[in-house]
């Protein structure tokens, strides 16, 4: 993924974390993140996502391997490196007695920002995240959406190069979730982001790269397009327009073609499942020709199943089935 090591925002090498010799949370993770990358961190519960993020932040010390941020090794005392990072934890918690102004001022002080910088910046951020009316109220009375917005403001107070957001849409209503995704899209124009999420459609929407963890092992790291490219594209749904008899006739013609595993017609919706080994573009071209011959219009076509989710599930399934083969392959390398 990276051409030049000096240019990397985050680099990990054989990163391993074992908790108290009891639990292997992360195993041999090597990845590199370039500037401008929006990395979606995927994986089931307990896969090691939060452990990886904590190691990148220097909150945990690696058992083996290392993490570099902007070319320098990260550790518990690397305060200067953390000044370049904006972090939102899962379920961010705030001191209940504080107001957003006091809290953001405190956070800005933790980054060593002098008063002439931090005061205007926190005022702008409070305005930008829409907390102006409640800026003097105690945080204790805030809703999930309001605390999420405050967490966003906190993560941006130091104008970081790298943003690490752990489950930023967790617990948000659809409107708040939508605005969070829009914000990520805007920020990705000039920042590097690592976004961990269970919601694969969120990752699909905002990220350009993906890392998939399964039981502490990095099973995929690359572009989101490549990840989607791994999925089996063999299941489509077509919405049609035209005479019902013509649609039924076209469907029966399509059914007779040998490339299809399954053809199903329900009213004006045609469901197609292709055989594994066929080229989907040529088969679909045949389908369109058949529809045109029968004077049936195509309203829409879509690939069934959320693409990233499907690719992710395929990867995890494949990884789990590999078992010893993986370990053997690793030892041979």
């Amino acid at each position: 993924m990276a051409d030049s090591a000096s240019n990397l925002v985050v680099e990990t090498h054989k990163l391993t974390k074992i908790y108290q010799n009891r639990q292997i949370a992360l195993n041999d993770v090597t990845l590199s993140i370039e500037p401008g990358c929006v990395l979606g961190l995927l994986g089931p519960n307990g896969a090691g996502k939060t452990t990886l993020l904590r190691l990148i932040l220097g909150l945990h010390r690696p058992t083996a391997g290392w993490v570099k941020v902007c070319g320098k090794k990260m550790g518990p005392n690397a305060a200067a490196l953390r000044r370049k990072i904006g972090y939102i934890p899962t379920n961010p918690q705030f001191p209940p007695g504080m107001t957003p102004i006091v809290y953001l001022d405190f956070m800005a002080k933790l980054f060593g920002l002098p008063a002439q910088v931090r005061k205007p910046r926190l005022a702008s951020l409070i305005r930008a995240v829409g907390l102006l009316e409640v800026s003097g109220d105690p945080i204790a009375g805030f809703s999930n959406g309001m605390t999420a917005r405050l967490a966003v403001a906190t993560s941006l107070i130091n104008e970081p190069e790298l943003l690490i957001w752990d489950e930023p849409t967790h617990g948000l209503d659809p409107e708040a979730r939508r605005s969070m995704l829009e914000l990520i899209k805007n920020l990705s124009k000039d920042k590097t982001l690592i976004v961990s999420s269970h919601n694969l459609s969120d990752i699909d929407e905002v990220c350009n790269h993906a890392a998939v963890l399964s039981r502490g092992h990095l099973i995929y790291f690359g572009s989101l397009q490549d990840l989607k490219g791994r999925m089996r594209r063999n299941h489509y749904e077509l919405d049609l327009e035209g005479d019902q008899k013509a649609i039924t006739k076209a469907a029966s013609v399509i059914k007779s073609l040998p490339e299809f595993k399954m053809v199903n017609i329900r009213q004006r919706r045609l469901e197609l499942r292709l055989n594994e080994d066929v080229s989907n573009s040529s088969v679909l071209a045949n389908v369109f020709m058949t529809l045109a011959d029968n004077k049936v219009n195509l309203v829409s076509i879509r690939s069934v199943g959320q693409q990233t989710e499907q690719a992710f599930l395929d990867l995890v399934e494949k990884e789990e089935s590999r078992g010893f083969a993986r370990a053997y392959a690793a030892s041979e390398e």
Partner: protein, 257 residues
């Protein structure tokens, strides 16, 4: 004009994270119920006892010595004060694990700065509140009871008690980095302190022998003391404080949060 010319590099204030945590911890300690109970109970007990003595002095006409009163104040400060200081300090870091890691240590602050700020904040609140209460009692006893104490001796007594409380505070903060829970830290500290105290008392030696300290308070208040041994005692307390803080600091700087 290029961007670098319009936006000069931002100069970070290196001491600001330390000050921020120090201020915040002082503020949070002052708001905590343990601290409020400590101060309120200390004030009620101290001034209540003083009024009781003053009532005997004025109503019954039995002379009440301010020296005897201040001796008891200093002796109780050592025994009860240490116990309460352990409660106040044992959760300094262990009680904030999780929230702490996510909201503070993920920012531009090192573990060293964080630990030092917390340690200094707890020293400040413990000693300031002790001096405030003890000073108030000294002042009141001078006016309400028969004045027969040495002010300088009392101040030396305050310094000695402060040194012991500072030592207990440092041990408490250090223990809070070593233990995962506040309850465990409190239990371990109580066992260590009272076990060591009992051992020293039974063996009958050592500057920090509780029985010796107990007797010393009466002498200090009456002005019958030599400064050298008291300075040595304060020095021992300072040494143990720094050693405990170093252990806590080094451990905290390397552990996961």
């Amino acid at each position: 004009m290029d961007a670098a010319a319009t936006h000069p590099p931002l100069r970070h204030s290196l001491l600001l994270p330390y000050w921020a945590v120090l201020q915040m911890d002082v503020w949070q300690t002052l708001r905590s119920w343990v601290f409020r109970v400590w101060v309120l109970a200390g004030a009620l007990l101290g001034f209540g006892y003083l009024l009781h003595r003053a009532a005997i002095h004025y109503q019954a006409g039995i002379l009440q010595s301010s020296a005897a009163f201040m001796t008891e104040v200093l002796q109780f400060s050592l025994l009860i004060g240490s116990t309460l200081v352990i409660l106040l300090t044992a959760g300094t870091i262990s009680s904030e694990r999780g929230i702490l890691a996510d909201s503070v240590l993920s920012r531009g602050i090192s573990r060293y700065e964080y630990f030092l700020a917390k340690w200094h904040s707890r020293l400040l609140t413990t000693l300031a509140s002790y001096w405030f209460l003890a000073g108030g009692l000294l002042l009141a006893s001078c006016f309400l009871l028969q004045f027969d104490l040495s002010i300088v001796g009392c101040l030396v007594g305050f310094v000695v008690v402060s040194a012991v409380l500072a030592m207990v505070t440092s041990l408490g903060v250090a223990m809070s980095t070593l233990c995962n829970s506040t309850v465990l830290a409190v239990a371990v500290l109580w066992m260590v302190l009272y076990g060591t105290g009992l051992g020293l008392a039974l063996l009958g030696f050592g500057q920090l022998n509780p029985l010796r300290l107990h007797r010393l308070m009466a002498l200090l208040v009456q002005g019958q003391y030599e400064l050298g041994p008291q300075l040595e005692l304060v020095g021992w307390c300072a040494l143990i404080s720094v050693a405990a803080a170093m252990v806590g600091l080094l451990h905290f700087a390397r552990r996961d949060v």
